[in-house]
């Protein structure tokens, strides 16, 4: 049954609904971001785990030149190996009917006679190729969609230098290629890069690998040690040109998903506390004022025999009721946004199914922390209620004591308008409230700075990578190493204006207890297309000897210039070479090591050998160039950096836009909530004075200016603080985003601060104008009749 105090509580909530709702929204934002962040994170990782489990994603991977099938048995006998699948995996050029540019695909074999044991295909349409059929293929679904392939569509491919027409008989997804990124790619380009599965016999025949394999995947038993299996596998495959086994950490698709998941986690840790903190301030502010206004009621209730605790609980319930509203809104919004976000991710990554993680624990935690934030905010005010003696409560509160901040002379000399004096003294009268409001607005600014910076940073990363470092328009990657003469062949391709050779050598670098599997890129010392950048992102000349490490790699290895690192040549019988570190190279993508091309070839004890060529070409003649490249037998992949940049930028900006819109909304909720509550409380305190000023002949605009001026002071003071906190958020996110695949530069442009401030001023203005309407409606006569 509802008692009198509960009825009062309900009426208070109804009477103060705009303020209560504004607080509820801030609390809701906290609960929602918590549910959204953790929910999306758990849904995605559960989905990935389920996908891996059902489709038996392998644990250890290795690529090699060629090994006889019999070696598979030897691998299967390694302790800890649960199952082994050997196969052929090759990248080859495609000539697609509707794509002008050259495209490529990863060709992967599927067994002829038995079922796949690992990385099972998730068939989306059609069927598997008939065993032994040389033309039938299954293609990855995103690739098929991007190229409008249907069952029966055909396209051409150059397998081992020979052109062949292939027919699509099915589409599929695979846990191995959730994120299917081609070489040199930054983001999947499903039109120009796909996965093509063929029967093993047919693919082996094309690559002269009959009875042999070039790739091995291993599933471990639960108790196996990955490191030990990798070591044993390496030992077996070193004879066959094994490139070094690695776990899931270095598997491209898995690593990208990991990076994404850890970003999600990082964000879900920053936002919710911000909202809950602001909400606690707001509860404190609003409840304190309510209690001051209801002082006499409190005294009366106590005089009637209600205990201090009962009356205190009544006011705590007020805060908790707001929190419950916030929790309900937050749960609904968080669940809705969480589903939306998970679906967005799922679409982007082409998961065949989704496991929505609706762990009740998340909701319990979200509700718990939200209630706690409200209770903490209410604590001080409620304590005041509990201890207030009824006799004191029944008499009016002591008048507010104001103080002059400066000696009288200053006021005379500076001729400060009295309205400004009123604003400043009123703000200084309740310093805690003023400071917490400033902090609240600053947090709104910081949420915006902490999200808007990403656009500029991405552009900066693109600028550094493509305008200062990788300035080529295209990169031809050869099927296998070729003599330098291939470089001159490339120069004579139609439209080519400049070319630059490079060599890429897979190695393991060791320094002390640290090691990483990377490729050393050899470039001409005076490279001009694909350059390396030194300190300050200035292009530098590669040292003629020694090895230059990217700063990220140097950090992982704990190596610095002058250290001697050991390099294991994975392609050449695992010979080990010691090299001095002669430079540190700046960059944001991947882990890289560089050597002068001549020094690299020298280390390999080989002549003038290259792996590919970077090109600069005349775009007027690109059609002719593309036609030639599509069918060139020497290449297996052609990267078009300039052309794909647009795709990269668009995808990234679209993803960012979704995130930033959410953040901007949240930032506006905070700014609105703080400013609105402050304004309402300030008006409640000063309504009488403002009405008196109207009587004295102040215009509505002049009177509003006093209250809006206070809000303006708060908002202006909050800006620098908000910028600083926002910069810190951006920094924290950069740390959270940091992965071995890429790093995000911390670049916060001035426009970011300006936009953040503009948006916050906008929402402050809106709440100010809403309150202004109340000032305009002040009852001038009523205020004269009553004592304060």
């Amino acid at each position: 049954m509802m008692n009198a105090l509960h009825r009062k509580l309900l009426r208070d909530l109804v009477r103060l609904w705009p303020q209560a709702l504004a607080i509820a929204f801030v609390l809701a934002a906290g609960a929602a971001t918590l549910i959204l962040g953790i929910g999306a994170y758990e849904s995605l990782s559960e989905t990935r785990a389920a996908y891996y489990e059902r489709n038996r994603f392998a644990d250890v991977f290795d690529d090699l030149t060629r090994a006889p099938k019999i070696v598979e048995d030897e691998i299967a006998r390694i302790p800890g190996v649960a199952s082994v699948e050997t196969r052929i995996a090759k990248i080859a050029l495609l000539d697609l009917p509707n794509v002008a540019e050259p495209a490529s695909a990863m060709f992967v074999s599927i067994p002829d006679l038995h079922e796949q044991k690992l990385n099972l295909l998730y068939m989306r349409s059609g069927r598997l190729p008939l065993p032994g059929d040389e033309h039938e293929v299954v293609v990855s679904e995103p690739f098929a969609k991007a190229n409008h392939f249907i069952i029966g569509s055909t396209f051409k491919a150059i397998l081992n230098g020979r052109e062949r027409t292939l027919r699509v008989v099915g589409t599929a997804l695979s846990p191995e290629f959730i994120y299917s990124l081609g070489p040199y790619g930054l983001i999947p380009d499903d039109r120009r890069y796909g996965i093509v599965w063929m029967r093993e016999k047919a693919l082996a025949a094309a690559y002269d690998l009959t009875g042999a394999f070039s790739s091995v995947h291993v599933k471990l038993t639960r108790s196996a040690s990955e490191a030990e299996v990798i070591e044993r596998l390496d030992a077996i495959l070193s004879r066959y040109g094994g490139l070094g086994a690695h776990g899931r950490r270095d598997q491209t698709s898995h690593a990208f998903l990991d990076a994404e998941l850890s970003q999600l986690k990082a964000m879900s840790r920053i936002l919710p506390p911000v909202f809950l903190l602001v909400a606690a301030f707001l509860v404190n502010m609003t409840l304190s004022r309510l209690i001051l206004l209801e002082r006499e009621h409190i005294g009366l209730l106590k005089a009637l025999g209600y205990s201090g605790v009962a009356v205190g609980w009544h006011y705590l319930e007020f805060a908790l009721a707001i929190a419950v509203v916030g929790i309900l809104i937050g749960m609904a919004a968080g669940t809705w946004l969480g589903f939306g976000m998970t679906r967005l991710y799922a679409e982007f990554y082409h998961f065949p199914f989704l496991v929505f993680q609706t762990d009740p624990a998340i909701y319990v935690i979200a509700a718990g922390v939200t209630l706690a934030a409200a209770a903490v905010g209410a604590m001080r005010a409620v304590r005041d209620v509990v201890v207030l003696p009824p006799a004191v409560a029944m008499s009016p509160p002591a008048p507010a004591i104001y103080r002059r901040l400066l000696p009288e002379a200053f006021y005379a000399v500076l001729s400060i308008p009295q309205s400004l004096t009123m604003m400043v003294r009123h703000l200084m009268r309740w310093p805690l409230r003023t400071v917490s409001s400033v902090l609240g607005i600053a947090l709104a600014v910081s949420v915006l700075v902490g999200s808007l910076w990403a656009f500029g940073s991405t552009e900066f990363m693109i600028d550094v990578t493509y305008n200062r470092s990788e300035r080529q328009q295209a990169t031809i990657s050869f099927v296998r190493e070729r003599p330098l003469s291939a470089y001159f062949d490339a120069l004579s391709l139609p439209g080519v204006m400049a070319a630059e050779p490079y060599r890429s050598v897979p190695v393991r670098i060791y320094f002390g207890p640290f090691e990483r599997r990377v490729s050393i890129t050899g470039k001409p010392a005076d490279a001009n297309l694909s350059r390396v950048l030194g300190p300050g992102l200035k292009p530098v000349r590669l040292p003629e000897s020694g090895i230059a490490l990217s700063d990220a790699l140097a950090k992982i290895l704990h190596a610095k210039v002058g250290d001697l690192v050991e390099v294991e040549l994975l392609e050449r019988n695992r010979r080990r070479v010691q090299l001095p570190v002669t430079g540190i190279i700046e960059g944001y993508l991947g882990l890289n090591a560089y050597m002068a091309l001549s020094a690299l070839n020298g280390m390999m004890r080989e002549g003038q050998i290259i792996s590919g060529v970077h090109l600069l070409f005349d775009t007027d003649r690109q059609d002719a160039l593309y036609r030639r490249l599509k069918t060139t037998p020497m290449a297996n992949f052609i990267a078009l950096q300039r052309a794909t940049l647009q795709n990269f930028r668009q995808t990234l900006q679209e993803n960012l836009l979704v995130m930033v819109s959410v953040y901007v909304t949240l930032g506006m909720i905070i700014a609105f909530g703080v400013v609105y509550n402050f304004a309402r409380i300030s008006l409640s305190e000063q309504g009488r004075e403002l009405a008196s000023l109207r009587v004295l002949g102040f215009h509505k605009s002049e009177v509003s200016a006093i209250l809006l001026g206070e809000l303006a002071i708060l908002t202006i003071v909050a800006q620098p603080l908000g910028w600083a906190i926002g910069h810190f958020f951006a920094w924290a996110m950069v740390q959270g985003f940091d992965s071995e695949l890429y790093r995000v530069p911390l670049v916060v442009e001035r426009s970011v601060y300006a936009w953040a401030s503009l948006i916050v001023f906008g929402s402050a203005l809106i709440s100010g104008l809403i309150v202004r309407r109340r000032i305009d409606r002040l009852d001038l006569i009523e205020v004269l009749k009553t004592r304060e």
């Binding site: 104001y402 009295q418 004096t421 009123m422 004075e689 009587v695 004295l696 002949g697 102040f698 004592r787």
Partner: protein, 242 residues
């Protein structure tokens, strides 16, 4: 007696058939039922009447705080009843000084600053210090309202009202919250200002004793003026008590 009357320099206020009806939901309250009133420049008028007789409504209308339902209100040669909100605000700002029962001072401003609040927006104001000296508060100029007694606060309010050199001074129960002794001090300040600056002064009260300091006393009853009498034997404020 005729010497006690102010020089007839013209009418400051004139109202004709003034009515005011308050409508709240279905209930209509007739606050004024046709008030015809005139006040001359420099005149000191006390408005007497029981609660609900319409005197406050009348004061609010001629003070530009409220609008009549029908009838005319003239201030010198301006028809207030035709003014919009902005014009009424300017009228209050430039011509009217208000004094209220509950002082209505700004608590965050000192006495001097409360007066300066008005002098900053007025056209031909005196210095705040000057206004405070007139009401005898030059020693307490830098005190905040909370540090002043009720009588002192009301004198600050009077200083604030006169600092703009208003043509009219409208006071609604200026001594209502004060004891007799303090009230007399406030009334002394009001009569002094009236004599010194010639501001037409209207005081609402239901304290009959106060009528003796006026040139004229007007009785309100049931929304009308019941009587209007010249005070033959006007007394100084110091001579009355209640």
């Amino acid at each position: 007696m005729s010497q006690a009357m102010p020089a007839p320099t013209g009418q400051v206020f004139r109202t004709k058939d003034l009515t005011k009806v308050y409508v709240t939901g279905d209930i209509q309250v007739q606050a004024l039922r046709g008030v015809n009133f005139e006040a001359a420049a420099g005149e000191f008028v006390v408005l007497l009447g029981p609660s609900g007789s319409g005197k406050s409504t009348f004061l609010n209308i001629i003070g530009g705080l409220d609008r009549a339902t029908s009838g005319e209100v003239w201030f010198t040669d301006h028809e207030l009843s035709s003014f919009d909100d902005r014009a009424l605000t300017l009228y209050r700002r430039d011509h009217v000084g208000f004094v209220f029962q509950f002082y209505n001072l700004v608590p965050s401003l000192t006495a001097r600053e409360n007066v300066a609040l008005v002098t900053e927006i007025a056209q031909n104001p005196m210095r705040p210090e000057e206004a405070l000296a007139i009401v005898g508060l030059q020693e307490r100029m830098d005190h905040f309202p909370a540090q002043l007694s009720g009588g002192e606060q009301q004198r600050v309010a009077i200083a604030r009202a006169i600092a703009k050199r208003p043509q009219v001074l409208l006071c609604d129960e200026p001594t209502g919250a004060l004891d007799s002794k303090t009230g007399v001090l406030v009334l002394e300040a009001l009569t002094q200002v009236n004599e010194q600056f010639g501001a037409t002064t209207l005081i609402i009260t239901h304290n009959v004793a106060i009528q003796d300091i006026a040139h004229r006393v007007v009785h309100f009853g049931d929304g009308r003026i019941v009587s209007s009498n010249i005070i033959a034997d006007r007394k100084p404020a110091s001579a009355i008590s209640w």
